[in-house]
């Protein structure tokens, strides 16, 4: 169980891993995540599943190395096993035929938006995908996302590839050109999602975001992942992870995500020193 069947470096800090987890693979739907714990002393972290292959019994993860746990995970290779894998968790994306949908993905969030774009396309939507990264080398899943989209627009912050600027600016351009848009899905860093929601708010374009707060049990038991949506406290793990972006308190989300910064840095630093030191 939980054996790694594929490991691929997608960019400097982003890794794709396929994991043997047949029961999860059979159940998983777009938008759902799993929780994993790499070793006995490890912490539990949520990661969205990008894909699943029920026949092979595998699920696909794409994650960015941001701290000790993701670094430990990235240090594993094909044939290694992950101690604990729990899922599928969270509610699947509500896939309907909306008409013209725009899927906006930033950074490693492209990994999460890709399966949603695919499911929306399969449901008969006209799909425009806007994906972006800081620079060309960090862009992931361009080809895959292109295949499941009627139109793909790429943006990089530094202009090294595609549109020079943010994905939100591309979306603003579509809105300014009066392209009718029935729904927007936006997944990426918190500031990106916040800005996308600001862009879609004046035209009241329904905008769904996928939130990634800190979680512990991820089954509604602890409340670590509480977010404020429309002034009400919701648990991202069981009530989400997707919410109406226009109702989300992004400032609160960002500050709660910073809650353990000093400890996270301490653990990551100690981990890197342990690896490279002596």
């Amino acid at each position: 169980m939980n054996e790694i069947t594929l490991r691929r470096q997608l960019s400097e800090n982003v890794v794709r891993m396929d994991i043997l987890a047949p029961e999860i693979a059979r159940r998983r739907r777009a938008g759902q995540f799993l929780v994993l714990k790499v070793h006995e002393q490890g912490e539990r972290i949520p990661l969205t599943m990008v894909d699943s292959d029920p026949a092979a019994g595998t699920v696909t993860l794409i994650y960015q190395v941001v701290g000790k746990t993701t670094a430990l995970l990235a240090g594993l290779g094909v044939g290694d096993t992950i101690l604990d894998v729990q899922g599928p968790l969270g509610n699947p994306t509500e896939i309907e035929t909306f008409g013209h949908v725009v899927c906006v993905g930033g950074g490693v969030g492209v990994g999460v938006i890709y399966p949603i774009a695919r499911a929306l396309k399969e449901a008969g939507n006209h799909v425009t995908s806007i994906i972006g990264s800081r620079t060309k080398d960090l862009l992931i899943l361009e080809e895959e996302t292109g295949k499941v989209s009627d139109r793909l627009i790429v943006a990089t912050d530094d202009g090294s590839y595609g549109f020079h600027g943010f994905v939100s600016q591309v979306l603003q351009g579509l809105i300014d050109r009066k392209d009718p848009i029935d729904r927007v899905f936006a997944i990426g860093p918190v500031p990106m999602m916040r800005v996308v929601c600001d862009v879609t708010r004046p035209g009241a374009i329904p905008t769904i975001v996928s939130l990634n707060p800190i979680m512990v049990d991820a089954t509604g038991m602890c409340g670590a992942c509480r977010v404020s949506v429309g002034g009400e406290t919701r648990f991202a793990c069981v009530d989400g992870p997707e919410f109406d972006g226009h109702q989300v308190d992004f400032k609160l989300l960002a500050s709660r995500l910073r809650m353990y910064c000093p400890q996270e840095e301490q653990a990551y630093h100690a981990h890197r020193c342990g690896q490279h030191g002596n």
Partner: protein
């Protein structure tokens, strides 16, 4: 309760005083997570066991939700037959080392002890703990001969005290039992909720290992309702399902500022510390905020566990904020006493109104209000009434909200035909936990709301009998 002993013998017995159990001194123990009570030495256990007058009609058994044969196991201790005592306990109780520690004996078996009428009851809990610890520490755990498999399978959802109890009872009857646990460790509230200093996790692991040796299968990381549903379990061939998923959703007070950083539910705070071992960060990867001024809202056992955890994490000031008085506190007297000894401050007749934070979104304190007690409410406790103009600010950099839990909806929401009551708890038809869905029983906190380990175990025991009767007929 009547007894058949002669006056002469009774007098002789009562000469032995109730044996105290040694404890770590408060000043020492607030700096570690090791268990507070240290358990009886053999001599003290034998002395204490000799206090039992072996009533012919023992009230203690009737006071025990799982009907442990209390006089019989105590007699074995008095005779120095400690392993036999442990076996006698395990005939009725799969988790004696746990119950000896966390049961509220003062409200159950010991409350019914005849010696308690005039003096102090037999220390049944301490003796239970002694016998179970003795067997475990010897490392020779007696495994009864397996029952002949009857070919029938039962699925148990949740590996807390209720689930473990029914698993133990049904495996002994020859059923194939699989326990599905959502988390990566079995034990439910025994591992995520109750701190190491009250219930060492090695003990829970040993009790779980014992059940696995009996043949119980435990599937960890298996969230029923997500990975598979109750319908799927029947489709996989399970003849009956027992739902013991606990009251696993935290209650917040819905007052302003409750989502500031540094404010935890007790579930999260304790899960980080107990299950994830955050108190050993960075040796363990999960962090926890080590607050200097910690306020814990609530007056139950979970509040006491949280505030005592805060002290051990290095808090300079750890305060219980409770809206009634010590008299109304739902926590065990022993826990309140331990907290007081360790230097916990008590702000009684006090309720928070809102949390205050800094520009980084961190809690800095809370605006509170003083209360006075009015008329008794539905629970029989006098309800707190705010005193006008009594508002004040209590500084805190960490807050733990321990005001209760509620039903987790994942299983009910994914099980057609399973009715819940208006508070979301699973509706049952009677004592044995039969639900509105044929073949499905439920018990423990998901039926009763937050209660005790032993009541959850009692529910498991009753459901085991009912499921056995149901599957024997089929």
């Amino acid at each position: 309760m009547e007894t058949d002993v002669t006056t002469d013998r009774k007098e002789k017995k009562e000469k032995i005083p109730r044996q105290p159990m040694p404890e770590q001194p408060p000043a020492e123990r607030v700096r570690n997570f090791a268990e507070v009570p240290l358990g009886y030495a053999e001599a003290a256990a034998i002395l204490e066991a000799r206090r039992c007058i072996q009533c012919k009609k023992p009230g203690c058994i009737a006071g025990c939700p799982v009907e442990v044969q209390i006089p019989a196991f105590i007699r074995l201790i008095a005779e120095g037959k400690f392993e036999e005592a442990a076996r006698k306990l395990k005939e009725d109780n799969s988790l004696p080392a746990v119950c000896g520690r966390v049961c509220p004996q003062e409200d159950q078996c010991e409350k019914s002890c005849i010696l308690g009428k005039k003096g102090e009851p037999v220390a049944i809990g301490r003796l239970e703990r002694f016998a179970a610890d003795h067997e475990r520490n010897k490392g020779e755990i007696f495994i009864p001969a397996p029952a002949a498999p009857n070919g029938l399978r039962v699925a148990v959802v949740g590996s807390g005290p209720s689930g473990l109890t029914i698993a133990g009872d049904l495996i002994k009857l020859g059923y194939g039992v699989t326990v599905f646990e959502a988390l990566h460790k079995a034990g439910g509230v025994l591992v995520y909720g109750i701190p190491e200093f009250r219930l060492p996790k090695a003990i829970v692991e040993a009790e779980v290992a014992y059940l696995e040796k009996l043949g119980v299968r435990i599937e960890r990381n298996a969230v029923i309702g997500r990975l598979k549903t109750v319908d799927d379990l029947f489709a996989e061939g399970y003849g009956a399902v027992y739902l013991a998923v606990g009251a696993g959703a935290p209650v917040f007070m819905n007052i302003p500022g409750e989502n500031l950083s540094g404010i935890y539910s007790a579930n999260e705070y304790l899960t980080r510390s107990n299950l994830m071992k955050a108190y050993r960060f960075p040796e363990y990867d999960t962090p926890i905020v080590r607050g200097r001024k910690v306020a814990v809202i609530g007056g139950g056992n979970v509040a006491m566990d949280s505030v005592r955890t805060a002290l051990r994490l290095g808090a300079e000031e750890a305060t219980i904020v409770y809206r009634r008085t010590e008299m109304e506190m739902p926590a065990r007297k022993e826990e309140v006493h331990h907290a007081q000894e360790e230097g916990v401050r008590f702000e009684l007749l006090t309720a928070p109104l809102e949390y205050l934070g800094d520009d980084q979104g961190w809690v800095t304190g809370m605006r509170c209000q003083r209360m006075e007690l009015g008329e008794p409410d539905a629970s029989g406790r006098r309800s707190p009434v705010p005193i006008p103009g009594s508002e004040f600010v209590l500084a805190a950099d960490t807050v733990v909200v321990a005001v209760g839990t509620t039903a987790n909806p994942i299983v009910p929401a994914t099980t057609p035909g399973l009715e819940t009551n208006r508070r979301g708890y699973i509706a049952v038809k009677g004592e044995d936990g039969e639900t509105t869905r044929p073949g499905v029983w439920a018990g423990g906190d998901i039926v009763t709301g937050s209660a005790t380990v032993i009541l959850a175990m009692g529910a498991g025991k009753q459901a085991a009998r009912a499921i056995h009767a149901f599957l024997s007929k089929a």
